[in-house]
């Protein structure tokens, strides 16, 4: 023992333990995100049971999905006012998702195991995902068309599925009209208004021109009226079907099919059916739009916003970072001043990102954006165009933030090019510029890519500065659409990281949103991994290519 102690082995073991703990933390965390994130879409079994309220002694029916269980000390619960017998030391309680928020006002509830009856899994329990008020859990009673009963009992479910598909088709059509076509008309109407205002400001508004604006506006309004009429017809058609459901408390509400996103009977599903449902749900999450203050639905705008922002940032940061690095390494006079500049640039990589956000808000948005608005968009004032947070400023701020990363990496790459190559090129009579652009820079491309990878990885996960310079909780439009000029740099965007912050911490129904946030976190991690992997593949490809050339 003493010799073992004296040899210093305990310290070695402790150091080894530090590594083990770090590794467990990394993989544990990834596992947690994976399990919780992917688990979100699985159609879990629904429990039906009875619960005797420990305080009032009241007996209630419960239908719900068990979310998690935990073991607490009896004392802790006694202090919370629940009459646990004094001799019981440990208590297990389960968190159930109950749904039916509109009926009971309670989406989630804790149930203490000891007061629960037997858990049953009836096959006909149905979950309805609704467009408002969250999920409904209950059993279907009858299907209604314009007040007439169409199906009951065994025949109900297949008929319901058919009618739900029809209703969803109608809904998609309605949404298509609302989002795309009416959005397009609004965009053009706004453009007419701006054109007119511009002409007014410039003093070129002739009566003929004014007449033209009036007719343009009238034409658009006419188009709008036609769409409006179509919308009215579609919604009237969509109000046809409804289903009567029985809630666990005995109420039998009627739910219109237009209110239902999808329906499933988890206790009645086979494993393959569940897998199919799972995949469908996952895809729906990726390509869907958020609902109910972002706590339900998909995250497509957030994914789209993140990717577009990172791409615009890459386009901005790469040339400037590379040029700066080339200047520092190849052209600038090496000396004490340059050394100081270099250290300073490197150190900017360690400056808190929020500082860049503050700079972006003050300098880019208020100062530069304000000036741009006054010069180029006077017709839109006082509504700011570029003088407000938006995609371009977010990308530019992130570009500035990641500039040091690209510079450092590129410089390292340039430094690694052997002097013999340069000298060879120069000896053959090439100018410095030719040597640089035809020999040195191509060889350093993999290093530049590495820099870009690091920049992208950092940018995609960065949230703090974006909160100041362009990310919002809900953007009405995507930054790219079919209206000229297609890429709208001034628009506000949604962002996965900010989505996590917003839904997890600012949402009124945090419990309901929790699962969604885990899934979003998972997507963000996956996105970063994918972006990284793509860039790494590109780099390796380039490395191979130039290695062959360099040899």
């Amino acid at each position: 023992m003493t010799t073992w102690w004296k040899s210093g082995s305990p310290w070695v073991w402790l150091n080894a333990g530090a590594v083990s703990i770090s590794i467990i933390m990394v993989f544990g965390l990834l596992l947690l995100i994976l399990v919780r994130g992917f688990g979100n879409f699985w159609p879990h079994q629904i429990v039906e049971t009875t619960y005797e309220n420990p305080v009032t002694g009241e007996q209630v029916e419960v239908i719900g999905e068990r979310r998690r269980s935990e073991t607490l000390t009896g004392q802790a619960l006694r202090e919370a006012g629940i009459p646990i017998p004094d001799d019981q030391v440990l208590v297990t309680r389960h968190l159930f998702k109950l749904g039916n928020r509109d009926l009971t006002g309670q989406d989630f509830a804790y149930f203490i195991d000891d007061f629960m009856g037997e858990w049953r899994y009836p096959r006909d329990i149905t979950v309805l995902e609704r467009r408002e008020w969250g999920d409904f859990l209950g059993t279907p009673v009858r299907l209604i068309e314009d007040g007439q009963v169409v199906a009951e009992g065994e025949a109900l479910w297949p008929e319901f599925q058919k009618r739900l598909a029809r209703s969803n088709r109608l809904f998609d059509e309605i949404r298509q009209i609302e989002r795309e076509e009416i959005g397009n008309i609004n965009f053009r109407l706004e453009r007419v208004r701006l054109d007119q205002r511009r002409a007014e400001l410039r003093g070129t508004l002739t009566p003929e021109l004014e007449q033209e604006f009036v007719s343009r506006r009238a034409a658009l309004n006419e188009e709008y009226a036609v769409l409006q009429e179509r919308l009215r017809n579609l919604s009237a058609e969509n109000r046809r079907d409804a289903i009567v459901m029985r809630a666990p408390n005995g109420e039998e509400p009627t739910i219109r099919l237009e209110q239902i996103v999808k329906a499933w009977q988890p206790n009645n599903m086979s494993i393959p059916a569940k897998v199919a449902f799972y995949i469908d749900d996952f895809i729906g999450f990726i390509v869907g739009y958020p609902r109910e203050a972002n706590t339900e639905g998909g995250i497509f705008p957030a994914i789209f916003g993140t990717v577009v922002m990172v791409l615009v940032m890459s386009i901005l940061v790469t040339p400037f970072g590379v040029l700066a690095a080339i200047y520092l390494r190849e052209y600038a006079k090496q000396g004490a001043l340059l050394k100081t500049i270099r250290i300073s640039v490197y150190n900017l990589a360690g400056v808190p990102s929020i500082v860049f956000g503050v700079f972006g808000l003050g300098f880019f948005i208020y100062l530069t954006g304000g000036a741009i608005d006054r010069t180029f968009y006077p017709e839109a004032l006082p509504a700011p165009t570029f003088g407000t947070p938006g995609l371009f400023w977010a990308s530019l701020t992130l570009a500035l933030l990641t500039l040091p990363v690209v510079i450092v990496s590129t410089e390292e790459g340039l430094a690694r090019i052997p002097a013999s190559l340069r000298e060879g090129s120069l000896a053959l009579g090439a100018t410095k510029g030719e040597t640089l652009w035809q020999v040195v820079v191509p060889l350093a491309t993999p290093a530049m890519m590495t820099g870009l990878i690091l920049a992208i990885a950092r940018a995609a996960g960065e949230v703090a500065p974006l909160m100041l310079v362009g990310v919002v909780k809900l953007a009405p439009t995507l930054p790219i659409d079919g209206n000229f000029p297609f890429l709208h740099l001034e628009r506000k965007i949604m962002h996965l990281g900010f989505h996590i912050y917003d839904v997890g911490f600012q949402s009124p129904n945090a419990e309901a949103a929790e699962q969604l946030v885990y899934a979003t976190a998972l997507i963000l991690v996956l996105l970063i991994v994918v972006l990284n992997l793509t860039a790494i593949t590109v780099r390796n490809h380039l490395r191979e290519k130039y290695r062959a050339e360099g040899d």
Partner: protein
């Protein structure tokens, strides 16, 4: 291609292009080379300038906070064609700084153009037939209420309103006289006699009070309550009159605060009587306070905006601020002196508070006017405005222009004031400040409130302490884990394992902090709250268990041990740590039962340690996690790059490998490890999302592990989007960004220089 082939054929002897072509080519190449040189140069320098701009711009936004205030006499104006030669009792200025108003003792109010002195309007106060004006009183400036006292003992309250109209699109302001409490003079109180020597009016919570004091010490007041008729919408006023206790000596000044709870009467000698009027039927004198030392009299006094603090000027030129401070023992609020200002050279003759913040102008009898600010307790500027004693001062509602009337002068001095950010002196930003309504000087960050008369509290100390607290707890977790891990990975670990471990730990760095923050806030915080013993048991059990595992391993038969070569201890320990962790989690409720009456969180609260769900412990764990890869990566490089011949020499001399680590590796690599810690610390200081999501964000000043904090970075993220551009708050946030920038920049520079030296040293060994 074909062209050049033809050429070569033509010349035959040489493959070179023609002379002209070569020259042209040379020109093109020279041009390209120059273009590359200057293009790259411009872009490179441009980028460096852009990065340097961050410093410049942040400083540029924060600089106005440090700029001293300026006040100067812009001009003198004479009110043209003013036949009213009686004394000036009051001066006003409107919001747009174009119209001045002079209230004279003959009951005439003259409005004039501040630029030219031309008379714009003249209003006559309806003085009763045959009587004269004997007294004048006013409310806080922003309410614009005044009261005239007449020689028959009646008083008349009135109000000045500036109406805005836009005929032909041009703004025209018309000052008008209004009588919110009726246009008939009234008698205040039951039956006080003698001349009114002090009058005041206040528009407070629940009604108006007009109070009057006489030179025999009697005080009376009329209380007006406004009731809105629900049906007709008209406002009905009811009036009640009360006689207050006499102070038995001439009243020189009277004040009623906006809460309508206290009436302050000041006598000639500077004694203040604090009369409780909460129940006006039973008024009582709460206390008598000497505002100035013996032999000095209180020559001027005024409420600051919000009427929570009283500024008192003495005949010796002294200025002091008094507020009501609740006495813990008696439960009564006593008027307490909380700070003094720089003494002026002559007796204070008039004090004019600012409209929307806690500053004021004071004039004295040597003609000086000085600008003070209460919160930051600074005298911003002193100015010799005239040679004569100052009689009245008016400041505009936007604090940029002032009028000064000197004794025996028939003109007014117009002062321009440039004083946008008086709240932020060095001591107000970093020191303890005694704010209005508080019992003692404190560090407080409270930037905004709905109240107009709110005193903004910009102390950066709670935020700085919060930042250091968060970083400290994060470093407490990260430093040992990262450094020990780095030593092991670089020095002991087997090569194949290192190839997996190093990138894995560095992978943590790419993990967005928003995810860490979310997990910490949503998952970890509630979990730890219910399973608090895990932290303490884990911190003891896991290291101990690792030692036991190590020892047991050394006792195993050597044949068995040979299966796993040295350098794989970390892999061996993974299952051990998982099992120990599981034990820790499972034992948590039992430990709570055995030692903490079933709930450790409750137990902490009972012993007097407050517990917030989102606290420094959670932040420390999450941010520690985020900082580990940074420290690990740099420290690992430093240890790994220790020249092999050093360690081999040590081992050859018979040292064990651990002795080599302690004696050779660590001393050599310590600068690298030091810089790793510095860079990690820099990252912890600036981290925003984790703190924002896991800390609760309350700006408190303590180092309790179980309470939250608000850091500089999180504060910026929360408040900057909602503040007005160019306001003091905006600039203070820029200042805190600048502080963060400089702090991390210096930290990183030191670390970088240390690392470069180390690299040189390695190269030379």
């Amino acid at each position: 291609m074909t062209a050049s082939t033809e050429q070569t054929l033509e010349f035959g002897s040489s493959l070179l292009p023609s002379r002209e072509r070569r020259e042209k080519l040379r020109k093109v190449r020279r041009f390209r080379d120059g273009f590359s040189r200057y293009g790259v140069g411009t872009a490179g320098i441009g980028v460096i300038i852009a990065l340097a701009l961050i410093f410049v711009y942040l400083f540029y936004e924060a600089y106005p906070l440090l700029k001293p205030a300026a006040i100067q006499v812009a001009k003198e104006i004479t009110i043209l064609a003013d036949e009213d030669s009686s004394d000036t009792v009051h001066l006003t200025l409107d919001r747009f700084e174009t119209i001045g108003g002079r209230f004279s003792s003959s009951g005439i109010i003259t409005f004039f153009d501040v630029e030219t002195g031309k008379i714009l309007a003249r209003e006559n106060v309806p003085v009763p037939e045959g009587e004269t004006v004997t007294a004048f009183g006013r409310s806080e400036s922003r309410k614009s209420l005044f009261v005239y006292g007449f020689s028959d003992g009646s008083v008349l309250p009135l109000k000045i309103d500036y109406r805005q109209t836009f005929p032909q699109g041009v703004r025209v302001i018309t000052p008008t006289l209004e009588f919110p409490l009726g246009d008939e003079p009234i008698r205040v109180g039951g039956g006080i006699t003698g001349n009114y020597s002090a009058l005041t009016i206040v528009d407070g919570r629940g009604g108006y009070i007009v109070a009057a004091g006489t030179d025999s010490g009697d005080i009376a007041m009329a209380m007006f309550r406004a009731r809105r008729n629900m049906l007709t919408g008209s406002v009905e006023l009811s009036r009640e009159d009360y006689d207050l206790p006499s102070i038995q000596r001439p009243v020189t000044q009277l004040f009623v605060n906006e809460s309508l709870r206290n009436l302050f009467a000041i006598d000639e000698e500077g004694a203040l009587f604090n009369i409780d009027i909460v129940d006006p039927k039973n008024p009582r004198i709460l206390e008598r306070v000497d505002l100035v030392p013996e032999g000095v009299s209180a020559t001027a006094a005024a409420f600051l905006v919000g009427s929570r603090s009283l500024i008192v000027g003495g005949s010796d030129g002294s200025l002091s601020q008094w507020i009501l401070v609740r006495n813990e023992d008696t439960g009564e609020a006593n008027l307490t002196r909380i700070r003094g200002f720089r003494q002026q050279s002559g007796a204070i003759t008039f004090i004019e508070p600012e409209y929307s913040r806690k500053g004021f102008l004071a004039g004295d009898d040597t003609g000086r006017v000085s600008l003070h600010y209460a919160t930051s307790s600074v005298t911003l500027k002193q100015l010799e405005a005239t040679a004569e004693p100052v009689v009245r001062i008016a400041i505009s509602p936007i604090n940029r222009l002032a009028l000064v009337k000197a004794e025996n002068a028939d003109h007014l001095q117009v002062l321009t004031i440039d004083n946008p950010h008086p709240q932020t002196s060095l001591s107000a930003l970093w020191g303890k400040v005694w704010y209005e309504g508080r019992g003692q000087p404190e560090f407080i960050w409270q930037s905004s409130s709905a109240d107009d008369a709110f005193e903004s509290k910009f102390s950066l100390t709670p935020l700085t302490i919060g930042t250091l607290k968060a970083a400290l707890f994060a470093m407490l977790l990260a430093t040992p884990l990262a450094i020990m891990g780095a030593i092991y990975t670089a020095y002991f670990m087997a090569k194949p394992m290192r190839r997996i471990v190093k990138p894995s730990i560095e992978l943590m760095e790419a993990l967005p902090t928003v995810i860490l923050g979310f997990l910490a806030g949503i998952w970890l915080a509630p979990y730890i709250e219910n399973h608090l013993p895990i932290i303490f048991v884990g911190a003891l059990l896991i290291p101990f268990g690792m030692l036991v595992a190590g020892f047991s391993w050394s006792r195993l038969p050597s044949g068995f041990r040979g299966i796993i070569p040295p350098g794989w201890e970390a892999a061996l320990l993974v299952p051990v740590v998982i099992v120990l962790g599981w034990i820790t989690v499972e034992s948590s409720p039992w430990i709570e039962l055995a030692f903490f009456d079933g709930s450790m969180r409750q137990w902490f609260t009972n012993v007097g340690i407050p517990y917030d769900q989102r606290n420094a412990l959670i932040v420390g764990l999450a941010m520690g996690f985020a900082v580990i890869p940074t420290i690990f990566s740099i420290a690992e490089d430093a240890v790994f790059n220790v020249p092999r011949h050093l360690t081999q020499g040590s081992l050859a001399l018979g040292a064990t490998s651990w002795q080599t680590v302690v004696g050779v590796v660590l001393p050599t690599a310590s600068p690298g490890i030091f810089s790793a810690v510095m860079i990690g610390f820099g990252r912890a200081v600036g981290e925003t999302m984790i703190v924002l999501m896991a800390s609760g964000n309350s700006p408190i000043v303590n180092f309790n592990l179980f309470e939250g904090m608000r850091t500089l970075a999180a504060n910026i993220a929360v408040e900057l989007p909602e503040t007005a551009v160019g306001s003091t708050h905006f600039r203070v946030l820029f200042l805190s960004a600048l502080v963060l920038l400089l702090f991390t920049f210096v930290l990183n520079t030191v670390a970088e220089v240390v690392r470069q030296r180390l690299r040189k040293r390695y190269a030379s060994i």
